[in-house]
Symmetry: C2
Subunit: 336 residues, 2 copies
């Protein structure tokens, strides 16, 4: 990667076109999510309500709705499938926060901080089961294959990430494998469901590729934002990845471009067993700025976003296409 | 419950008839399990191999094979479905051991003791995804419904158990709800797959009920054995449930039959926050013996086993029927 990537303008979009496109359908998705997360066991309902209230962008189910709309879908199935996608994502988040011991997500206390790790593990399992029950109710084996394969890839990617954390010897290719599995696979599946549910099978691979590229852009930007973002806007603590010893692209770039003394610094803090101090985070941010590593990471995110947008070329200019272009632009321009 | 339950003879069976019935099919199930647990990520393969080597009785997939044989099934689908059942069970065990912080299972160090909780959470997710991928490959929505519903019930039951641990005010009915969900639901599903895969749909409900009753007997016996068994034979530490603050039937019976001073003892140790001492475990065992609470629990297990056996009455006397009767007898007579 070039170390002289151009500065990228701050977020210019709040996903207005996407939100406008999916508002009515997402209201139904949210109703279904609330209904399906209910249980006779109060802890399940409480924890699920907390997650649902915390909300977030719900980008993945929005993508399923938008991709279905792009393919001219008329019907109700996309509502249930979008909810299923969100349940898979939420289950992953719950287990992620246990693994990372995160205290804050989207500006709210995490479920594991409030209810403990045990509850997060078990309620995550419950939500994953719900996702599959929703797919079974939909009744399409093709859909079940897309989403069960995605769930397998995601969990393998999470394990992969765990095994390479604290490891500065990984290549950029390994880093990309990890984020492709842990993040882009669900974006890809969410988008593939659009043509699938519409019976527009000629667009399956293209929309899957769109989602895959968008997911890569999204995660690359996420990894840059971990060192750059405004803490209030990001809704999580700055430097979380660093404190967890995660070796993300900004770090890899700065590490490889740094002098021997800099590499020693990264090794000491990321490969050591000691808790990482605020002073170390400040030094890390100084080195990342010096090598413009976050800018280069955002540039790579922009490249993936451009690839995603190019894949939309054959579709007529509709509100759905505009919304999906906007989502790709947003992926690397966002401040949160 | 009667407090003067008859003593139950020690294990007279090592499941010889069941094992003989399923030997060939289970060899194929084990090969498939090994193959499906492989991954490019070494940690997944290592951890899965550890679980597979630890093995255990593999009772649930054996039940699927035996129930299919009982219904005259000819074909290969039961192999894949039995593997899927075992993957669901293994994923549950992995997450259970994280939640209970168990160090020993089936006489071996648990995965979380060896690889840490993070790995156990994520590899559990991977195995659950694999279970669904195997079902999707099988291609029956009926099978997917049976097993996704079971997975939902199990995880809700695990959460329920977590919320009522340390709580001596629960009724016996609540205890039975918990074990019905966390244990019997998968036994029921494993057995229902037999008639389902065989197209003998008239036996679905009966075999489901058989599995449900067998699962209740199995868990009731497990909860008694936690205070009675030979540690070497059981393959886990005696008193694990007690140390985890789990309020199981033996405890509930002794608690309700005990004098005020005894109830105070149970409250102090199970509802308190302190670590539970060996002396407390000895006292608990003394009180359980005094009230014959484990014997009464085993009697209830025997009642469920009798119910399971009665459900097999309409089937002709075959080796499969004998094996399933044996499994029910084994459920409460076993020493491990």
């Amino acid at each position: 990667m070039s170390s002289a990537a151009p500065a990228i303008a701050p977020a210019t979009s709040d996903l207005a076109a996407l939100k406008a496109l999916v508002t009515d359908d997402m209201a139904r998705v949210n109703t279904l999510i609330l209904e399906q997360a209910k249980s006779d066991i109060p802890l399940i309902s409480d924890l699920a309500s907390h997650l649902i209230a915390a909300g977030g962008k719900r980008l993945r189910p929005c993508l399923t709705i938008a991709a279905a709309t792009l393919c001219g879908y008329v019907g109700d199935r996309h509502i249930r499938l979008a909810a299923s996608v969100e349940f898979i994502h939420t289950a992953t988040l719950l287990h992620d926060d246990v693994v990372d011991d995160s205290k804050l997500r989207r500006g709210e206390a995490t479920a594991n901080a409030l209810w403990g790790n045990k509850s997060s593990v078990l309620v995550g399992d419950f939500l994953l089961s719900r996702a599959f029950q929703l797919m079974v109710a939909d009744g399409s084996l093709d859909v079940l294959k897309v989403l069960s394969d995605a769930a397998g890839i995601i969990s393998a990617g999470e394990v992969h990430q765990l095994t390479v954390s604290h490891d500065l010897s990984i290549t950029e290719a390994v880093y990309e494998q990890v984020i492709s599995a842990k993040t882009a696979a669900l974006f890809a599946a969410a988008c593939e469901l659009g043509p699938l549910v519409s019976g527009q099978l000629q667009w399956r691979e293209r929309m899957r590729d769109y989602g895959q590229a968008l997911g890569m852009a999204f995660q690359l930007a996420d990894d840059a934002l971990d060192y750059m973002a405004d803490e209030d806007a990001l809704g999580k603590a700055i430097g979380d990845d660093f404190r967890d010893g995660k070796v993300t692209l900004p770090v890899l770039l700065a590490y490889h471009q740094g002098a021997e003394s800099e590499r020693q610094f990264w090794q000491n803090v990321l490969e050591g067993d000691d808790a990482i101090s605020d002073a170390a985070l400040s030094e890390a941010k100084r080195l990342l700025a010096q090598h413009q590593s976050c800018e280069a990471t955002l540039q790579r995110a922009q490249d993936y976003a451009a690839k995603a947008i190019a894949l939309l070329a054959p579709f007529p200019d509709t509100a759905a296409k505009a919304a999906l272009i906007e989502a790709a632009e947003f992926s690397y321009r966002r401040a949160f």
